[in-house]
Symmetry: C2
Subunit: 92 residues, 2 copies
DNA sequence: AGCGTCCAATGCTGTTTCGGTATCGCGCTC
DNA sequence: GAGCGCGATACCGAAACAGCATTGGACGCT
């Protein structure tokens, strides 16, 4: 489980399509597909239903989506906060 | 920035000693030292003061420690929650 | 002052992980 | 049954990673 995997998951959940999510993340479809499979494997649950149109969140996926978003937001906050404290690179 | 790096950071912050933290994480000292350096580089701030006794948190490090703990707790919660929903591996 | 000690940091190397290309398998459409 | 769109898989080269050995710096001892 890595932050990258969470970002991949959120993107696929929002796009409901691995290919589109991949483009959005500047990645290709296969590694992104593997991210989702790895997550599902680690969680022991299927997060998406594979349909003909693409990927649809399953109930477990919806629950996980909330957590994933919160985690990513926390990470973002953490980075921005600490960078804000720093005299070194705060202004960019 | 990865979850592993956050775990490394918290361990070093708590042990105040890279070698001890490494043992606790079943790792060796050099990679753990590099985790901290990578974090500091990414955040643009020094998180620890290197003393003769080991590592002491700087103010930015203390702030980041709170965030890191929260993130790791969130990750833990996310995994446990979704695993709890699953019929596949919940009890194992 | 010179030497040993304890700490984190670095050079190097073998291995693992990872992303990209090409391809597959499946279900649907015409 | 040929074509299309989707995710999944096989394979390979590149990047990341952990571990070993070593360095460099600060202090204590004699």
């Amino acid at each position: 489980m890595s932050i990258t995997h969470l970002q991949s998951f959120v993107a696929v959940a929002e796009e409901r399509h691995v290919g589109r999510a991949a483009r959005r993340l500047h990645l290709t479809q296969p590694p992104l597909s593997r991210h989702i499979l790895a997550l599902e494997d680690e969680l022991g649950t299927r997060l998406f239903e594979r349909t003909r149109q693409g990927m649809r969140l399953l109930p477990a996926g919806e629950v996980f989506l909330h957590h994933a978003r919160r985690i990513l937001a926390e990470v973002d906050t953490a980075v921005l906060t600490v960078r804000g404290l720093s005299p070194r690179d705060a202004g960019g």
